[in-house]
């Protein structure tokens, strides 16, 4: 039977079986999730599309250089920010998997950027980057750099500053995810490898990485999707300055919707990311299907 729990039942006890099956149905286990989705996802998402229905708004956006600058910056965040974060997280997950007391002691410290409220942390970084009185340039001058960069005053450095701040905030989270994935690799896989004489780097390349590949790729795709809605980083680090050159779609859209009060235009900015998101979700679904075989 399709709805049977993961074991076969003798066909004889049909009457009691029926009532028994109900409670053990897979349906029952996903019911709470489906309820939440029906109440709070289907309606708002549908309504979101409805708000962004006017084609004129898209025409206006596509004629605006600020929009295109934001689109390019968004791609920078996806291409550079996300990948740099995930690569670093992969390396660091190996570091934190080491069984040394001081490495373990460092871990709770390391998650601080994730735990500190982003508004304050990013505003603090904004002031650190001040070219005259910021801590970064004070340190640089202290070690003999005579004219350190004016971090936030030109597009190039400002977008770099925003990207680095993004990495700072998100690195702990993805490191923990990859660390958990590493921990999920059954020991017997390693033991078998030991028997085959694979140690050190070889073990890393031939066993750990292939097994982490699925999680790594899926995390990258999800990080990309979330980054599309990351408003805080750019809003508080650069605020779009200088001259609205460092916006991303999320800041531009949210500013239009909330700061200016043009909701439809703002939501339209968000919806222009849709082709990108759909590609990412399709890739993600493919990945998940590929994972279905699993390890076990």
């Amino acid at each position: 039977m399709l709805l049977a729990p993961p074991h076969k039942r003798p066909t004889g006890a049909r009457r009691t079986l029926r009532s028994y099956i109900r409670i053990n149905d897979p349906w029952v286990f996903v019911l709470p999730y489906l309820a939440g989705a029906a109440f709070l996802i289907v309606y708002p998402v549908g309504y979101g599309f409805w708000i962004g229905r006017d084609p004129l708004n898209y025409l206006q956006l596509f004629g605006d250089p600020t929009y295109w600058a934001a689109a390019v910056n968004t791609l920078l965040f996806l291409g550079v920010g996300v990948n740099a974060t995930l690569l670093l997280a992969l390396v660091l997950s190996g570091f934190f998997a080491l069984r040394r007391w001081w490495v373990k002691a460092l871990l709770p410290v390391f998650i601080l950027p994730w735990a500190v409220p982003v508004v304050s942390a990013y505003l603090s970084i904004h002031w650190m980057l001040n070219s005259e009185i910021g801590m970064i340039n004070t340190i640089l001058r202290g070690i003999g750099v005579s004219s350190p960069p004016e971090w936030l005053n030109s597009y190039g450095w400002a977008i770099v500053a925003a990207l680095v701040s993004y990495i700072w905030h998100w690195l702990p989270f993805w490191t923990l995810i990859l660390l958990a994935a590493r921990m999920a690799i059954p020991n017997d896989v390693y033991e078998a490898a030991d028997v085959d004489g694979a140690t050190g780097i070889r073990r890393l390349v031939h066993i750990t990485f292939p097994l982490l590949r699925g999680t790594y790729l899926t995390s990258t795709l999800l990080a990309a999707i979330w980054t599309l809605s990351d408003y805080n980083t750019v809003h508080f680090i650069t605020g779009g300055a200088p001259g609205d050159t460092t916006h991303v779609l999320a800041t531009l859209g949210v500013d239009y919707a909330f700061d200016i009060g043009f909701i439809e235009l703002g939501v339209s900015v968000g919806l222009t990311a849709l082709p990108l998101i759909i590609i990412l979700i399709v890739l993600l679904v493919r990945r998940l299907k590929a994972d279905d075989g699993g390890l076990a």
Binding site: M1, L2, L3, A4, P5, P6, H7, D25, W27, L31, L34, A35, A38, F39, Y43, I51, T66, L123, H126, N130, S131, E132, I133, E150, L152, N153, S154, Y155, A158, F236, T238, G239, G240, A241, P242, G243, D244, T245, A257, F258, D259, I260, G261, I263
Partner: protein
């Protein structure tokens, strides 16, 4: 063995599966609908909802609560009063209006009234406002165009007003042998005075010599368009016609804009405002001023001296407040007035009660009480109040300086307060973007002027319906 691999699916089980799945789906779809039906508006018996811009001082909020509480007791009408921070309240109002759940009354310090009026959200409050003894400028800044009803009328009530004075450190000038009282009042001479201050401080060889002016050029600061407009108007530019519609064809508009763009970009490129003023965020100029990195900065309200008054009386006494210099070609100094307004929302459905509370809020004694608990940071919009000793003879020299500015000939409402189209110009950071293109991309000022004018004209046409 995995249950999903079970291939022996009987037709019966499949039907059963579909049936049950259908039931679950129907239930889930019906749920939100039912909940929505149960939670319908039905607001007649509920309390009146008031959203109020959070004050800078605790006493301000207490005063608002006291005044509204008195009305509530007198009328027996319950009021649900909530305080929200000014920038965040914009988001909240936007969401609430979109969701069809606006408050009955909102007091907000941002110029959102023109937008909400345009969208047909606001109740016409002419009958209340006509009876108030408003200053002519405050009255002129309370009329907006409603694009739904296609009328221009009074859609907001100015509770208070403020301007953007210039603050400076007296002692910093004294140290280099200068005094603002001796500075020229003409436009060029005045600014040359501040440049001279910076040069003298440079020669004195301080470890970190201060910069002349804290002038905002950043697209991330609301101060930027304010500072910009001061120069624009000093240069004699008139962007709005007598109906508050954008008109770029007027004489001198192009020249005035070009002058402004050149003047501000020169100030920056010649190093008379901090390098970071192009990337400041909210509070950027306040902070460099309080750090004494600049001699002076223009800033809205009296929040700068107010922030040090209690903790550092010496610093407070050292800060001078004054108006702007004469216009570029001579003539009265510009002084921009901005407004904090009370709006009544039509959709909340209880306009007449809300109007009753509005009358109470605009009672001169109540307004005075609210402003005094704001420690004179704001300025009244009611003529009788402006004549009271609290404003004319306040022991605080900063309050007296502001009183003088409000009595000056050049006082005019900020264009943002009058025109939705001009608000768009500021909201889309057209000024800051032009400055950035000149200063960072090296664009020619004349070209930047033409580009900006084109965009302004376009926005004017887009929102041109407001006659």
């Amino acid at each position: 063995m995995r249950p999903a691999n079970n291939d022996q699916v009987s037709a019966f089980a499949r039907r059963e599966f579909l049936r049950r799945g259908g039931l679950v789906a129907a239930g889930l779809a019906l749920g939100p609908a039912l909940l929505t039906a149960c939670g319908g508006p039905g607001r007649a018996g509920e309390s009146l909802t008031v959203w109020w811009s959070k004050g800078y001082y605790e006493e301000e909020d207490a005063a608002a609560a006291r005044i509204i509480g008195a009305w509530s007791r007198a009328t027996g009408r319950a009021v649900n009063l909530q305080f929200y921070s000014t920038p965040a309240m914009g988001s909240k109002l936007t969401s609430a209006v979109e969701a069809g759940r606006p408050p009955d009354i909102a007091y907000h310090q941002n110029a959102r009234a023109s937008l909400f009026a345009h969208q047909g959200q606001l109740a016409d409050v002419s009958d209340v406002v006509d009876t108030l003894a408003l200053t002519p400028i405050a009255r002129s800044a309370s009329r907006f165009y409603d694009n739904q009803r296609q009328v221009t009328s009074t859609f907001a009530t100015p509770l208070l007003t403020w301007t953007i004075p210039i603050f400076h450190w007296k002692s910093m000038l004294t140290e280099i042998g200068l005094d603002l009282r001796e500075a020229p009042r003409n436009w060029d001479g005045y600014w040359e005075f501040w440049r001279e201050a910076q040069r003298r401080a440079d020669r004195a060889g301080a470890e970190r010599p201060p910069t002349a002016v804290g002038w905002s050029l950043s697209s991330a600061m609301e101060d930027t368009p304010e500072h910009f407009q001061y120069v624009l108007r000093a240069a004699g530019t008139a962007l709005l016609d007598e109906n508050n519609a954008i008109d770029v064809s007027g004489p001198g508009v192009r020249d005035g804009l070009e002058y402004t763009l050149r003047w501000i970009s020169d100030l920056y490129s010649e190093g008379y405002t901090p390098r970071d003023s192009i990337s400041w965020q909210s509070g950027g100029n306040n902070q460099v001023f309080l750090n004494q990195q600049v001699f002076m900065t223009p800033n809205g309200t009296l929040s700068i001296p107010g922030s040090v008054k209690e903790n550092d009386p010496a610093a407070w006494a050292d800060i001078g407040t004054s108006g702007w210099p004469e216009a570029v070609g001579g003539g009265a100094p510009t002084a921009l007035a901005k407004f904090g307004r009370i709006m009544l929302f039509e959709d909340a459905g209880r306009v007449s009660e809300a109007k009753d509370l509005l009358r109470h809020l605009m009672d001169p004694a109540n307004v005075q009480q609210y402003l005094e608990d704001g420690r004179g940071r704001w300025y009244p919009t009611l003529t009788p109040l402006t004549e009271q000793p609290y404003w004319t003879d306040n022991p605080d020299p900063n309050v007296r300086a502001v009183h003088e500015i409000f009595g000056s000939e050049g006082l005019a409402p900020d264009w943002r307060e009058l025109s939705l189209a001009y608000s768009r110009v500021e909201d889309l950071n057209i000024w800051a973007k032009s400055l950035t293109r000149i200063l960072i991309d090296g664009q020619d000022v004349a070209k930047a002027t033409d580009d900006a004018l084109r965009q302004v004209e376009l926005l004017g046409r887009q929102f041109g319906a407001q006659a």
